[in-house]
């Protein structure tokens, strides 16, 4: 069976892009990419990104 798709990449690690030229605001709308204190998330107020 042919091995097709992105899964054939031989590199061991896939980097997950946090920017794209398709983004309207030029930035991601989440603290996902820069979590410093996991526990702080529980008490932090929700962000004010466009819904």
């Amino acid at each position: 069976m042919p091995r097709v798709g992105a899964s054939v990449r031989s590199c061991g690690v896939t980097k997950f892009p946090f920017r794209s030229s398709t983004m309207a605001n030029g930035r991601t709308c989440s603290s996902t990419v820069h979590v410093d204190s996991p526990k702080a998330l529980v008490s932090a107020a929700a962000g004010a990104c466009p819904g």
Binding site: T22, T32, C49
Partner: protein, 420 residues
């Protein structure tokens, strides 16, 4: 049940409160499945990051407050919000905030922010025979069937508990005895032309799920040219219309080099002849709309692969999309990045196609609420979207989806579904 010293230490709280809670859930699951012990898993894929209500947040917040960290490589399934394109969300802002917050909580536990239902498209996917704890039905069936890895059907909450403890019950599809085929589906009289078409596979998967239910199906008669994307579509459909977590395709999938080996030397409980008329009926059952009216097209369930983008790019280079028709493609961030790097984005911008990442159009409000009829090439999308997002659906091939979008009304090739 026999627990290792490490299992007991986790259960006793010596590794923190979150680990204690996670091990409590894992051992309760082991009792329910009558497992005699727990086993290690090499990786996890977590589905609990999709917001389903307050319980989703409560559980994740309790884990994070208790200091939860995953101990094995863990990928994340789709969330409620496209974090790169949050402006696509058309629902209640408070629900969006909760969904985004849930995604952040799971990422904060050390899960990789992959946000894809197709983790098998990432590098470092499981190897043959490797035990893993994957959630998301299409990912489960792909891991078991196409990769030959071993996972039971894990769902929300148990998935992250497995990721935190690195342990699961030795039960279900982790065991040799539960992986043998039980029901045979034999392709009978299906034309070579249809066997070569992508659209066969989601339709066949729909039949497989309806017939197999919770059994392990064996499919005989698929061509050697069958691709991973075709098996992806087959498995996703079978895991939607049925509870299929493992299928064998004779001569194609790793545990089915022959019909006899697929059944582990036993006889099938039942044999189903899959005829052209049966496939045509299944294809019709995936359509609820009764006219040629079309509002939108949605493809990419499961998430579009780079090879699927290659085909769609060629199709869209030849034609445009009619005014008034929306066209969505759901995919992952890393495949989107690959699309960008190959210089294909201009084709999609030019055609007015909306690329959706991190989520999927049938689990969250992204479609225009005034749109009533949506066409898809995914049997899974066709199965769930009417109930989830309240639309009428038309099922067709990728080519039919593009042609329909171009002409502004549903166009399908009826001749394809006849026999030889």
């Amino acid at each position: 049940m026999r627990l290792s010293a490490l299992d007991r230490a986790m259960l006793d709280g010596r590794h923190g409160e979150a680990t204690r809670l996670a091990m409590k859930v894992v051992t309760a699951m082991a009792s329910a499945s009558e497992a005699s012990r727990l086993i290690d898993v090499a990786s996890a894929h977590v589905d609990g990051c999709l917001y389903h209500g307050q319980a989703s947040l409560d559980f994740a917040e309790r884990l994070v407050t208790g200091g939860a960290r995953v101990t094995i490589p863990t990928t994340l399934n789709v969330g409620s919000v496209d974090l790169l394109h949050p402006e696509l969300y058309r629902g209640d802002p408070d629900t969006a905030d909760r969904g985004r917050r849930l995604m952040d909580l799971y990422a904060s536990m050390g899960c990789r922010p992959t946000w894809t239902c197709a983790p098998y498209q990432l590098a470092g996917r499981p190897s043959f025979g490797q035990h893993v704890a994957w959630a998301e039905s299409n990912a489960i069936v792909f891991a078991n069937s196409v990769l030959g890895a071993r996972t039971d059907r894990y769902g929300d909450f148990i998935d992250v508990c497995a990721a935190i403890t690195g342990r699961v019950p030795e039960a279900g599809l982790h065991l040799d005895r539960n992986r043998a085929g039980q029901i045979l589906l034999r392709l009978n009289g299906v034309s070579k032309k249809l066997l070569a078409e992508d659209v066969l596979f989601p339709v066949l998967g729909h039949v497989v799920g309806m017939e197999a239910g919770t059994m392990v199906p064996v499919i005989d008669g698929l061509p050697a040219s069958t691709s991973e994307d075709q098996l992806k579509a087959l498995g996703a459909a079978a895991a939607s219309s049925g509870a299929v977590a493992l299928f064998h395709a004779v001569g194609l999938t790793p545990e089915a080099p022959s019909l006899e080996e697929a059944f582990g030397g036993k006889e099938p409980r039942r044999v189903v002849e899959v005829t052209p008329s049966r496939l045509a009926d299944a294809r019709d059952a995936l359509t609820t709309a009764r006219s040629d009216h079309l509002d939108a097209v949605s493809v990419g369930t499961p998430h579009f692969s780079i090879d699927e983008f290659a085909r769609l790019t060629l199709l869209l280079e030849r034609t445009g999309i009619a005014p008034g028709v929306d066209f969505f493609v759901s995919t992952s961030r890393h495949v989107l990045a690959e699309v960008e790097s190959r210089g294909w984005l201009d084709v999609y911008r030019g055609a007015g196609v909306t690329l959706v990442v991190d989520t999927c159009t049938y689990v969250t409000p992204i479609l225009n609420p005034s749109h009533r009829v949506v066409m898809t090439n995914s049997a899974k999308w066709a199965y769930y979207a009417p109930g989830n997002v309240g639309v009428e659906v038309v099922f067709g091939s990728l080519e039919e989806c593009v042609r329909s979008a171009s002409e502004g009304r549903v166009r399908r090739d009826e001749a394809l579904w006849g026999g030889d």
